[in-house]
Amino acid sequence: MGKLKSLADLKKIQEEARSKLDLRVKGDNPENYVQIKVAMATCGIASGAKEIMDFLVEELDKRGIGALVTQTGCMGYCYAEPTIEVTLPNQEPVVFGYVDLRKADEIIEKYIKNGELVDGIIPVNYEKVD
């Protein structure tokens, strides 16, 4: 990029630069975004959780959804890996099991975009202590 000739030029650079800083901005205010936790313990990784995480990160970005995808340890549902926990802003978290690429796509399109529940929800069987 050469010299900036106007404020419009600056705004163009800002847009690109912002996408690189996105992770940090979202991480600072997670409650404003869709938060997705991918279980990435040994069981999750072996079942392909990494692929699911890559897919989610890229697709959410492509589809213009402000989301925060992080990894977490084993959630305890080893039989249903890969599992992901999705928290929409101001809502209770929902855990989905047996998430493959098709399911991940369905979760984005139906649950995240429209709030429609899809198959594969695992009832939460524990309470969390903050």
Binding site: L4, S6, K20, D28, A41, D54
Partner: protein, 597 residues
Amino acid sequence: MSKYKMHLLVCGGTGCRASESDLIVENLKKELEEKGLQNEVQVIMTGCFGFCEKGPIVKVMPDNTFYTQVKPEDAPIIVAEHVIKGRKVARLLYTDPTKKEHVSDSKHMGFYRKQIRIALRNCGFINPENIDEYIARDGYMALGKALQEMTPEQVIDVIKKSGLRGRGGAGFPTGLKWEIASKNKADQKYVVCNADEGDPGAFMDRSVLEGDPHSVLEAMAICGYSIGATKGLIYIRAEYPLAIKRLQVALKQAREYGVLGKDIFGSGFDFDIEMRYGAGAFVCGEETALIHSMEGQRGEPTNKPPFPAESGFLGKPSNVNNVETFANVPVIMLKGPEWFSSIGTEKSKGTKVFALAGKINNVGLIEVPMGTTLREVIFEIGGGIKNGKKFKAVQTGGPSGGCLTEKHLDLPIDYDNLIAAGSMMGSGGMIVMDEDDCMVSIAKFFLEFTVEESCGKCSPCRIGNKRLHELLNHITKGHGTMADLERLKNMSLVIKDTALCGLGQTSPNPVLSTMNNFWDEYIAHVVDKRCPAGQCRDLMQYSINAEKCVGCTACARACPVGAITGERKEPHSINTAICIKCGACFEKCKFNAVVIS
């Protein structure tokens, strides 16, 4: 290239770098590469996070996990556990000192909870050596807005309305300063940034320059536009090598983008900035001395008026502001003066950065709204006094300020309240003292500094401060009289009235304020020949408590001058005429039989 999924922010402030944070960066990168994750996880060196006490800091984003006291050899475990498996490394998390629980989100730490970060908004968040990251955080937008949408008068009006006052110490209204400089007509004017931070224990400006250099450059350009100056100068001490390096990188990048240089944003406005290096003399923080030093002359002050706004650098109108003042400007321009003036107290708007140092648990850099009380700063953010000792006083304003005591703890901090309490805001150093500190010695310490730093131009400062120091020395050695205390006070008042510049006029403040607040301690030194805090070695007496002494002879063997005598298994005694008060017997005694009084 795939998108990064995780950012590892490593503190690159001077403090954390001294604890090898650059090696942490290197090790993290190496570890990530070995695991094939270099394209998924980005390692970024940022500016200071402020929590220097627990440095080096590594923050993982977007998980918002704050690791403290990280060592270079911790890199593998962070990568193996957190990055790969998503498990937080518990032993590196901050532990809440009262609840004894791990806290991973910095927003929930006592240290950060009460802070509002305006001047430090980007410190610990962006890579200071990457202009794009600054731009992503609305960098140079304020300059663009000023140049394309506003007249210079409108810019000045915004700053005036915001109520921003100089953060260098005196608290002069910044907008008014700009207005005066803008009204003085000349063929050339200058914008000067005073980065000559010299108070002992202060590191606010250094941290801003190290963590967010572009915010200062942008503000200087905005100031240039408003007062009609095309040249900026940053006066910085050569002993801040990292800040200098980051400024140089920032200047180069800003010129490449054309946000500094000719015809910025096609507006026809030219502005560029040069650096000037100082040798680290305290007096050069005084604006006239600073200007002389930049001109290549001796760093000595001259009488005001003329103020720099009329006749400054090379005799041209110059506007001098401090680093932190500038760092506030771009945010005010973007968020508006009403937003800024809604923070703070009636006469002091916005926030203030403080460097907490001394006997406090959380040494570090903080930014709080004006009007926060000393108690909140010291006990909530600062985490209280080290080792559970009792709070005694806090020195604000460095060697030019004064000490505040227990009775001032609930005082809301702002410019006027601090002056009314006999101290001053200064640039923001806060040195906390506990019950073990002798206030006469503290006054002596600051005087030692001023004597060293006096430029010698006017006699009240050159000779007067030297005499003050001698008197204090005399008192701490146990030779003081009541007449000396009288002289100390009188001379302090005379120096305040007659010294040429701010350095001399304020140098007796530590003496006067300790005399005001701790008169008993002065009396104890002079009348009882006793130092209540047990700091003044010449006033100490060592003796042995015969009831506790078991006659083990350990002290007698440790004494380097043979002052301790006694039979085996019989109580020993110390001959005070020979004793050199080295403390060796005190250290050696296992029975607490050696008493210092």
